[in-house]
Amino acid sequence: MNHISPVIYQFLVKWLTNFRLFPPEASKIAPQMDALFFFILLVSLVGLTAVVLLVVSFSILYNRRRHPVAVQVEGSTLLEATWTIIPLGLFLMMFVWGALIYFRVYTPPPNAMNIYVVGKQWMWKVEHSGGQHEINALHVPAGRAVQLTLISEDVFHSLSIPAFRVKREAIPGRYTTVWFEATTPGTYHLFCSQYCGTNHSQMTGDVVVMTPEDYRKWLAGSTSGASLAQNGERLFASLSCNACHNARPDARGPSLAGVYGSRLTLANGQAITVDEAYLRQAILNPSQHVIQGYAPIMPTYQGEISEEGVIALVEFIKQLDSNYRIQQTLNTTELPPENEGNAAPAAPAAKGRATHAPAPRPPASQGTTPPGNASQGKVKP
């Protein structure tokens, strides 16, 4: 073949050696979704075969040569009912089955470990809670539920991991979530599947599933020195959030300790549960989210903080269970702003948090994410 046509030869070699009809199953949900997929496929094939068989056999039995005069048959209520009810029943089965799987994919278990993913034209930025930062790659451990919290900085993107059978849209201005539990270590495709402009097809990467030990090693080797929450704490101080949210008797803003997960009443009387989405909105668009009893004096931070910065702040507030450290840093905000970065990590770790508090060191030496630049925070006057 090679001497006849090298192109055809290459094609045949590729076809025979590198041909797949079905993607690998690398997550817990994948076999469940595939079971439904094959059920629908089976029903489709049976339906298609039925139609084709009927058309072919009628064409043979009743073609003009064999059956020159048509017999007029008016229709049959019984048959109409049959081919209404049977497809309807099958479709309803698929609906229920599909809904169950859908709810499973988008309802993370409470113990899932959270990873933030920010989509922007044209890359995926991944923020681990330990402060590890990746671009167009996602490292996850096998055998552990992982929740992805997605947001977009610009247009719609969609995070697709075919081997896990999960996909979720990353939307500007709103968090969305999806979760999976990877089962088989290996490297899999990560795609942006929502058309997002010029380099849409370059917005791809690898999902690396690792054994728990390898994952621990990877985490330790990729840390930037400060966790996401610690970055948030620095940002909190540098944006002077602590000037109001400090739980002092004369504080102008509400205390944020333990606020995550609590129920609050807004100024307009609406009762809400504080979640990531609310915290994000309250930072970026505070006048619409004022808590009852407080004046709408907080300035908006829309355009002042990047999505990663907001994520760091949200993570900080989520883990905040006392105002001790905020009040400590408050004393240092009278210092010139340039020194704020140093103040936060120097403070003693609050109890019950920060599993691996880093040794204080100057920000310039802190790996790839120096606290000031990473969050692109600007100091409010």
């Binding site: 094609f11 003009r64 048509a70 109409e80």
Partner: protein, 575 residues
């Protein structure tokens, strides 16, 4: 003529195209551009949509060429994005939406109900001018830089992040949209008001029912698209912030508005095609459509349910899980009437007397491909499997099976079915049967591999892709070349037939519709006397009685001779 065909042509040595018909009524370019004859407007539409189809087809060819290799090497990524965007916009708004309604519907809907014209003939002409204005504006936008938002115009990409001709293209679609609103309005009024005496609702051909359902969708859905496009333009020009989250807007709102039209739009496209299939299958199996009322009501059911399934395009976009539940259920319900239609067409064949002329071959192709397209729609309507399959080539394949495998097959079936009536001439039968087979084979070769690509996870709208997907893409591109031949052939032999085709006579297929009971090509006023409908639709016994009566009036032996010699005679050239 052997017994496996029903084609009955007049004696070619004596037959002539009637001197007076809608084509010869007036001459000159102006007589066409200022006509209010629904048949001439249909011809204007036919020429223009064919033109746009081949532009859209050429763009599709470019897409397939680029995807031959995993790298983005034929054109720059931006160019590729523009090409698939324009392919989608041209094919959907300038070809699929007007294809059957504006050509075959325009031509035959009045004739089928026994009317002289549509109720609003000048509005009909105006709608063609709107269509052309929209089409030319779209071409202008394409030539002066194109647009790269995808045919879905997703915000905020379309409002804030691209620098291409979004507003011009949006305006083109806005204008073309009004053309389809006017066509729909015209059809609704015509069907209500201009039915011939005795033409009750349940004597209407199913083609008319399908158009009625599609017209309702056009009139109710298209304005919402117009609104969505205006909002996009305002957001781009003035930054009003309806869709901008930074200004408190909701980017998902655009998709709700867009799909509120664009989902029903697929029924606007497919319903008239289904109408064609009902006519063709009945004619070539010599039988009344099985379960006439079920088929008629399933069209209406599709139109009604079709309006309440739009959010199934957004299952993974962070809408509430319970919304997904409702829309998934409704999507399952809309699948049922389509299944009903398929089974009814199948059972129309039962105890029929079937022949396999070209229109019937295309109709069989439609049934197979539409069944596959419909069933793969169920994969996507099922919320669970949609997560994995949406936004991949599975969607691309599903959509093309329904729209190209379904709609385009139906359009070609209809064109071949009514060509003798439109032009008064037959096309070469063997060649056209060959074209039907080539189209079917090429189509499957092109789009079936895309189902597998989608299942493997290849996202759509990718200019480059991981190398392991190449084999299937090569198959797909190879198939597209076969498909291209399949589409080019009809253009050639149909054009040829305009001059050299055999004279068709009034009713070459022995079909029952009122449009066949008059001369070919028809008179401008369609009927010399107003027809009275005194029988049910698809009443072949009535047709037989009619034929017998007219035969006894005429010279009986002459008629027999005509039938016996029919095809062997040399094809004469009519004056």
């Amino acid at each position: 003529m052997s017994s496996h065909t029903i084609v009955s042509l007049p004696d070619q040595s004596t037959a002539r195209i009637p001197k007076r018909n809608y084509l010869t009524e007036e001459n000159g370019l102006l007589s066409w551009l200022l006509t209010s004859d629904h048949k001439r407007i249909a011809i204007l539409y036919l020429i223009s949509i064919t033109f746009f189809f081949f532009i859209g087809g050429a763009l599709a060819g470019l897409i397939r060429l680029e995807l031959l290799t995993p790298q983005s090497d034929l054109m720059a990524a931006d160019t590729y994005n523009k090409v698939f965007t324009m392919h989608g916009i041209i094919m959907i708004f300038l070809f699929l939406v007007p294809s059957v309604p504006a050509t075959l519907g325009n031509f035959f809907l009045p004739m089928m109900i026994g009317a002289r014209d549509l109720a609003l003939p000048r509005i009909n002409l105006f709608s063609w001018y709107l269509y052309m204005a929209g089409g030319i504006l779209a071409l202008y936008a394409m030539i002066t830089g194109g647009v790269d938002t995808g045919w879905t115009f997703t915000t905020p990409l379309s409002t804030h992040y691209v620098n291409t001709n979004v507003i011009t293209t949006g305006m083109a679609i806005f204008i073309a949209g009004f053309s389809s609103i006017f066509t729909g309005l015209n059809f609704i009024v015509t069907i209500h008001k201009l039915r011939a005496p005795g033409m009750t609702w349940f004597r209407l051909p199913l083609f008319v029912w399908a158009h009625y359902a599609a017209s309702i969708l056009m009139v109710l859905g298209t304005p919402v698209l117009a609104i969505a496009l205006v909002l996009v333009a305002l957001e781009r020009i003035a930054g009003i912030g309806v869709f901008d989250p930074a200004k408190g807007g909701d980017p998902l709102l655009f998709q709700h508005l867009f799909w509120f039209y664009s989902h029903p739009a697929v029924y606007i496209m497919i319903l008239p095609g289904m109408g064609v299939i009902s006519e063709v299958i009945s004619t070539f199996s010599r039988k009344r459509v099985f379960g006439y009322t079920a088929v008629a009501f399933s069209s209406v059911a599709i139109a009604v349910f079709g309006f309440f399934v739009w959010a199934h395009h957004m299952f993974i976009m962070g809408i509430s899980n319970y919304t997904v539940l409702v829309f998934s259920l409704l999507t399952m319900l809309v699948a049922v009437p389509s299944a009903i239609k398929i089974f009814n067409w199948t059972f129309t064949l039962y105890k029929g007397s079937i022949t396999f002329e070209t229109p019937m071959l295309y109709a069989f192709g439609f049934m197979g491909l539409f069944t596959i397209g419909g069933m793969t729609g169920v994969f996507l309507g099922t919320a669970g499997t949609d997560i994995h399959l949406t936004e991949t080539y599975f969607i691309v394949a599903h959509f093309h099976f329904v729209m190209v495998g379904g709609m385009l097959m139906a359009f070609l079936s209809g064109i071949h079915f009514w060509w003798p009536k439109i032009t008064g001439r037959m096309y070469p039968e063997r060649l056209s049967q060959l074209a039907a087979v080539i189209t079917f084979v090429g189509f499957n070769f092109t789009f079936f591999p895309q189902f597998i690509l989608g299942t493997l996870g290849m996202p759509r709208r990718y200019a480059s892709y991981p190398p392991e997907f190449q084999i299937l893409n090569v198959f797909s591109t190879a198939g597209a070349t076969i498909l291209g031949v399949g589409y080019l052939l009809p253009v050639l032999y149909l054009t040829w037939s305009l001059k050299y085709g055999a004279i068709a006579g009034n009713n070459p297929w022995q079909a029952t519709g009122l449009e066949w009971q008059t001369q070919s090509p028809p008179l401008t006023e369609n009927f010399t006397v107003m027809p009275v409908m005194d029988h049910e639709a698809y009443d072949y016994e009535w047709l037989e009685r009619q034929t017998l009566a007219s035969q006894s009036e005429a010279n009986l032996s002459q008629a027999k001779q005509e039938q016996a010699l029919g095809k062997e005679k040399e094809v004469p050239r009519a004056g």
